[in-house]
């Protein structure tokens, strides 16, 4: 792997980790804050705001995940784990750890 390729891969992993955390956090905010606000406090505006924000974060996350695994360097098992975790609630936090491990390996190789 060339230096330029490694730098590009690291940059992509950093962006992917960031969007993983954003996706997971917006889901938690939606489920633990916005939904109770709607049903308990009678504030439907909370889900109207948080819903689209989480939807956008999820779409961005899935798009970047597809781009990442299509870029190669991931085994079938790793790809399957990343995709399955993307589709289960809070699975993005699991993926974030996997991406962090991958980033650490690349950092060591630098």
């Amino acid at each position: 792997m060339s230096g330029e390729q490694r730098a590009e891969e690291l940059s992509l992993l950093r962006r992917m980790r960031a969007i993983s955390l954003i996706e997971g956090t917006t889901l938690l905010l939606l489920v633990l804050v916005a939904v109770p606000l709607k049903h308990v406090a009678g504030l439907p505006m909370a889900t109207r705001i948080m819903g689209p924000i989480h939807g956008l974060a999820f779409l961005t996350y899935v798009w970047m995940l597809l781009q990442l695994v299509s870029g190669g360097g991931w085994s079938r098992a790793e790809t399957a784990r990343l995709v399955i975790a993307a589709l289960i609630p809070c699975g993005t936090f699991i993926n974030e750890r996997a991406l962090a491990r991958r980033q650490a390996l690349l950092d060591i190789a630098c």
């Binding site: 390729q5 870029g71 190669g72």
Partner: protein, 141 residues
């Protein structure tokens, strides 16, 4: 008037996105055929990748953002034709991500070759665009 300006912005973004998507599809599947030398192939892939990152990807985000706002302002979200359209746009977005990743792989590995099914990407894009135009203009359901 704001609605019409937003619509113009959305249509422009979609045109730029789709033309860029076709360029990415062409780059990912035909770069080896277009250029006989490794340098020429690499230069073609890198230019296409740069265009994708700087122009096509922002155009996709703009198309999604402006489209979502238009649907909200126009109260279209309960229309079946829009639901189908969003599904097709989602598939085109996924295809874009796969093509973009494939192009990145080709840029760094000389011996890499794209997945065989991607030769149909251009046809899928044209079919998707045709279906979207029919849904938006005719609104059959």
């Amino acid at each position: 008037m704001d609605y019409l300006w937003l619509k113009a912005l959305h249509v422009t973004a979609v045109l730029v996105w789709m033309s860029g998507l076709l360029a990415v599809a062409l780059g990912a599947t035909s770069a080896a055929k277009v250029s006989s030398s490794a340098e020429g192939r690499s230069a073609l892939i890198e230019r296409t990748l740069r265009w994708d990152q700087r122009v096509t990807l922002p155009a996709m985000l703009l198309a999604w953002g402006a489209g979502g706002t238009l649907a909200t302002l126009g109260g279209w979200f309960h229309s079946p034709w829009l639901i189908v359209k969003i599904g097709i746009v989602g598939l085109l977005s996924a295809l874009h991500a796969i093509l973009s990743g494939t192009l990145r792989r080709l840029a760094y590995a000389d011996a890499a070759s794209p997945p065989s099914w991607l030769v149909h990407a251009r046809l899928l894009i044209v079919a998707g665009v045709t279906a979207i135009v029919v849904l938006v203009v005719v609104k059959p359901f």
